[in-house]
Symmetry: C5
Subunit: 373 residues, 5 copies
Amino acid sequence: MEYERKVCLQRESVMLDSYSGISKKVGMPPGSLIHVGDFDEDDTRISVVDYCHGDLEEPVVETVEDLLKFREKDSITWVCLEGLKNVEITEQIGKLFDIHPLVLEDILNTHQRPKFEEYDDYLYIVLKGLTVADESVDPEDFEVHYEQISILVLNDFVFTFKERKDELFLPLIQRIRNSSGRIRTLGTDYLTYGILDTIVDQNFVLLDTMDERVDAIEEELLDDPDSGTLATIQRLKRELIDIRRATSPQRELVAAILRSDHQLFSEKVDIYFRDVYDHVLRINESVDSYRDMLAGLLDIYVSSISNKMNEVMKILTVFASIFIPLTFIAGIYGMNFEYMPELKWKWAYPTLWLAFVTIPAVLLIYFKKKKWL
Amino acid sequence: MEYERKVCLQRESVMLDSYSGISKKVGMPPGSLIHVGDFDEDDTRISVVDYCHGDLEEPVVETVEDLLKFREKDSITWVCLEGLKNVEITEQIGKLFDIHPLVLEDILNTHQRPKFEEYDDYLYIVLKGLTVADESVDPEDFEVHYEQISILVLNDFVFTFKERKDELFLPLIQRIRNSSGRIRTLGTDYLTYGILDTIVDQNFVLLDTMDERVDAIEEELLDDPDSGTLATIQRLKRELIDIRRATSPQRELVAAILRSDHQLFSEKVDIYFRDVYDHVLRINESVDSYRDMLAGLLDIYVSSISNKMNEVMKILTVFASIFIPLTFIAGIYGMNFEYMPELKWKWAYPTLWLAFVTIPAVLLIYFKKKKWL
Amino acid sequence: MEYERKVCLQRESVMLDSYSGISKKVGMPPGSLIHVGDFDEDDTRISVVDYCHGDLEEPVVETVEDLLKFREKDSITWVCLEGLKNVEITEQIGKLFDIHPLVLEDILNTHQRPKFEEYDDYLYIVLKGLTVADESVDPEDFEVHYEQISILVLNDFVFTFKERKDELFLPLIQRIRNSSGRIRTLGTDYLTYGILDTIVDQNFVLLDTMDERVDAIEEELLDDPDSGTLATIQRLKRELIDIRRATSPQRELVAAILRSDHQLFSEKVDIYFRDVYDHVLRINESVDSYRDMLAGLLDIYVSSISNKMNEVMKILTVFASIFIPLTFIAGIYGMNFEYMPELKWKWAYPTLWLAFVTIPAVLLIYFKKKKWL
Amino acid sequence: MEYERKVCLQRESVMLDSYSGISKKVGMPPGSLIHVGDFDEDDTRISVVDYCHGDLEEPVVETVEDLLKFREKDSITWVCLEGLKNVEITEQIGKLFDIHPLVLEDILNTHQRPKFEEYDDYLYIVLKGLTVADESVDPEDFEVHYEQISILVLNDFVFTFKERKDELFLPLIQRIRNSSGRIRTLGTDYLTYGILDTIVDQNFVLLDTMDERVDAIEEELLDDPDSGTLATIQRLKRELIDIRRATSPQRELVAAILRSDHQLFSEKVDIYFRDVYDHVLRINESVDSYRDMLAGLLDIYVSSISNKMNEVMKILTVFASIFIPLTFIAGIYGMNFEYMPELKWKWAYPTLWLAFVTIPAVLLIYFKKKKWL
Amino acid sequence: MEYERKVCLQRESVMLDSYSGISKKVGMPPGSLIHVGDFDEDDTRISVVDYCHGDLEEPVVETVEDLLKFREKDSITWVCLEGLKNVEITEQIGKLFDIHPLVLEDILNTHQRPKFEEYDDYLYIVLKGLTVADESVDPEDFEVHYEQISILVLNDFVFTFKERKDELFLPLIQRIRNSSGRIRTLGTDYLTYGILDTIVDQNFVLLDTMDERVDAIEEELLDDPDSGTLATIQRLKRELIDIRRATSPQRELVAAILRSDHQLFSEKVDIYFRDVYDHVLRINESVDSYRDMLAGLLDIYVSSISNKMNEVMKILTVFASIFIPLTFIAGIYGMNFEYMPELKWKWAYPTLWLAFVTIPAVLLIYFKKKKWL
């Protein structure tokens, strides 16, 4: 029992955070830049990749002003911020690149619904990055990190704002370094595709883990279900509700990108976003399937419990039905009446033993025919 | 049991009011100004905030006619009425500002569906303000006040009609006073946004409380469910049905505002309403998630009860299956037949004791193998 | 049990009527004027109200031809027919006012889906009027009358065809008499609004009663559920299915009126129909809510039954588990073996009594710890 | 149990036919004319009705060529084929009247989804005719025949292809004979309406029977549910799934006819098809209602079973709880200890009888208070 | 139990593959040609059919370059590749026929959602081919192979890429050989129809098998349900979820083809694709029906278990209720009190026997009336 309790408390804290964060902000004027989020990284890591077809630079950037010099260059600059607690950095970027205050607020308040917004000079994409917590090597445990990732697409700048410091974008950076694929020859729109694709495909890893978990539960259910199984099913169900809330708006988001005819998105890249769209559809369908499966697991759990109770009842009934009548018969001849002729018969006792053997035999055959044994 | 009864009665009165109010009005000509509502504040509080970029005035207003002088001024006047029982005030405002009688009727009859209506010279917004009752500090209790809030947007006037007197708009008034944010530089449309945003964001506080409650129930369920838990789940379910009814039409409402191209709404404010729209979407999704969770809780409750019964049955079966055969054996040798050779054997009694010990031992091992113990 | 049986039979007859009526007509040419309905009023009551801004007349009309004289007058004439068994009256009206035979057929065949149809010279509205049967003062009983009401809107005539004679329109007639509201100054479109509004608002009374019933059941459920409660829930569920079927198409109906730009509907009256539309939406949402609530009640019923069984099982288990071992011990010393040394010990009997007291005590403490008592 | 088995086997064969028929055809070139269907009428009945406003002819037709002579006549010719096994007839009609091979294939392969297709010179309508099997006078039994009916509408020809020979169209033919209604004065479009209307209205008869069945089950459920009731509910459910599959596409079909502006459909007949559309809507709503009701019935069944078990458990508990302690007391004084002072007391036995009476009395009062009796 | 375990493990491996395949690819640049799939055929089979109206050739092709010579010919060439492990073949085709790298990637990564994409010079169709595994002759077993089939439609070339080597297209090739039907006279669009139709109609065979399985379970359920039945239902449910995921996007796919006005699809072939669309609709409706049926089966399973438990409980209750009181009575007269007058009465023992017979008789009649026997 201790175990389930822990799970609950864990969840509770996550959920409380997620809303109490918001409700703390109720009543503030819009555009107030305060960081609201679950991951409080102490400092912000800024990584910059500046590249064009022939050239690649990965400068170390100390202040936001350092970014200005890449503005003049005719190259694509990808600025990746990890850790949002230092609000001033975001504020400065907002001022230097003329970003609407509400967008900055959305970047910092990490409880946004995934969405895509078009502005005259830039595009704003915000969505959830879902990663399975590494600690969850324990097959029983399954924790998902929900991190808000904001993408600002400018003419030759792309900013990504992540809540956590991790290696999510490493493979993409590697591809730019190796100049593998088309990435070095195309514009910020293709880089945006690369970033989106990386985030969306991360969900497949998640579904992988979910799949393992569902199969493990199914095996457990048919093998030996206990109340821990029930708690696990319920936890997966709640996790799936949260995953669904994070992934289902992605469909709308990518569809909006596909519909968009903003000058920053060239038509050539459309086919790549369509690919992302297919992935998003597939993820949503999988999430729905898992939901159906979990509902099915609960049904099986209930049925298994009934089955077990049924078996227990049969044993009880067989025992009781056989021995209660016999005990009664023995009770009869334990009575102390003076006039009980049977007591004096010589064959009475052996005859009774015959009854003690045949009655159970008859009952057992009867129960066998009723398919209880 | 007393507790649940009370809950029921409380609810009953609320629900009865809500419809009996309406049904009392059946058959009346449209536009009859009668106050129909749950909150009968005895008197009406009128607060006025008149502001422009450089100036702020908060005059005390006694009669509706006093408002006329602000009409000439080139400033924005926000008139906030709390308590709708005094019908004449609303009537007078209607006459002075030329409001359609049906709108006045809707303001006073507090059972409107949230909606947005455009008229030539003004806009009418009506929605529900949901606040968690302060008294509900008792963790078991969870009461929501549903208050109808009407907003009339004119060229340089905004009227808000609230049923209850509370401090809901205080933070917003504070912001106007401090001239913080953009509020003092923009028109009635931005003020309308501020008011709507305040009302909508209030729902996050509500969901916060709901979340705590759901987690508390979940813990209780896995710990020690009783029939009180069932009653609590049912109450939350009904509360959620009511919350859903109040919040789900808000989506449509804000979408209608976004679609509107009324001259009173400038394009600059659109982005702010889009923000409110995002919040409304998020609230609706959360409400749906809680619904799923509550349904899941009921499933767990039923499974837990089955589990418990199963355990009880096992104990009974083990006890009965072990002792009933033994009692039968004892009964045999309690019989009074004259010819029972065993009775005279010297080792009969100790041998029987051996049986009395081995039979239970064998059965216990069998039950252990069947995983009943 | 007698009670539920009665309920079933009642329903059966209603449902059988409703379809057997239709199926009787299968194979007839369209436009055959035969009255198909549940309410067989023997004679038809014709009430006429003829009014214009300054004048009001309520003539007694014997024959349909009498209506012709109001045709020349520049006033609005509202003809209300109650009781549809006398087919000729409807037929004559059809001929005199040039109504399409299919419309006449729809008026008489009272199993129409609510709908709105536009013809060149007139409009046809048909919907269900739902009234709670007056006899149902018995709190257990809840019967709804479903009456088809047809409205024919002409240039200065409005015909209403009701199945039953009752006082439904009395408040509206009163308003015309008193010339209260705008009714006397506006045309047939406003009168149509008044009629529709009266019929639709009647549903609020119905929902009121439904609400009382749901609350009563909920109390009963938490107090002392029995199989009667189950039957009541099922009855309400079926009633709600019927109510839903009657009210849900009203939404579409009023929406069609709102979309219509028929010359008989002036734009001025649009806002009133929008009001009716809001009411219809609200009614539909309420009906859906009650459906959810009833589903919830059934869940509670099942859980309550499980709970009760659980309690019964615990009592049985406690009794059996305590006394069965004791009986066995007593049985041992009731055996008649010659060599049973304990039988001769002096303190054996008192010692046994000690066991008879301590064993139950230990078991009771154990059960207490398992939370069974 | 025998009974349910039979039902299953019956269904099985129907379902197997329905798909194995199709799957047999997999891999064939499209337009291969092979009859695939459940009803293998040996020969084909061809009935012809040729009529115009003033004239009516019902010639006996032997070969398809005989139909050619009606082509020249300026009259409407309705050719009704019953029994599709003789593939050549359909093939010949296809050649003579220039029908697309795929249409002919659809006519013969009787597993089409209801649909409406427009071709340059003709229209093709295919839908299911549902009739309650006449044999099902046994109230327990409820069998539905699903027959595919194809309608080909040409300029002055209408062909109907039915799988079974029955009297479905007799009332319509009678109406043409009697020249009752508008049928003789209007074109093939009105005849098509008449045919469609006849087929659709047949569903009302079906729903009638369904209604009787549902009510019968409900009564049985509240009276004395057994496992047969469960099988009956399941059967109705499956039947309803099939009915739904046959009727729900009719909505789309008639809507497509209403939208069509093919020259073969004059505007005058639109109002009649709108009437059919209303009927189809009503049928679909009814089918949905019955689905809800059947789901409700299953809930009641489960609850009733729980209720019954509860009652059984109470009886057991009451018996066991009362007599087990008493038996124990009797057992005590059946022990054979030498030193049992009570055995010699004179009033011991009567006192014990007092206990034997008071203990059950006390327990019964206790159980009564717990509402178990 | 062993059996279900095996089933689970089987499934697990399939599901793990399906996602781990994808997740292995996360982070790769788009267009990387790696084969990701479940079926690892070692070598690739290339079959070519080259035909025009008068001529047919089935050349053996060794290398992709061999295909070039068919390019000049004015005939239709159908190239069918089976086995995708040899990535170079696909790559070469891509280069020679100028196919977009993303399309090639989709062909090789066999986890695509069914879709239809239009390019300037060619069309790309990808969908799932579902075949029932031949090994599943065991009535208990039901395994479905999900194979991705890609179709590339060019001006006079059609490429099909299959994962597995089987005889799926044999009947179609036969038809081309026999020149039966229209296939030899029409273009690549008609061939595409033929291929699609073959794949889609394969689903009917699948549904056939599903139908048999559902009926078998239903029979088993009403006959003698055990926990194996539950496992079977669950397996079918999961299989159906997978089938649904494979077939439901086909609707959208064929609809997109119907909407398309690409020059490669002539209008003449539209009617054939409409036919495929009808089949797809019918398959989807059937899958939904089976889902409903399986849900119904689970309900019946649970009810059957309850029923059985009920029966067991009745037997127990009858036995216990009859013999427990009798044993008590026997116990009374087994007591050893000195003053028990009945013990000396001559008729006491026979009288008691009378009681031993009448008490059970009375109880049995009582239980009979309660309908327990």
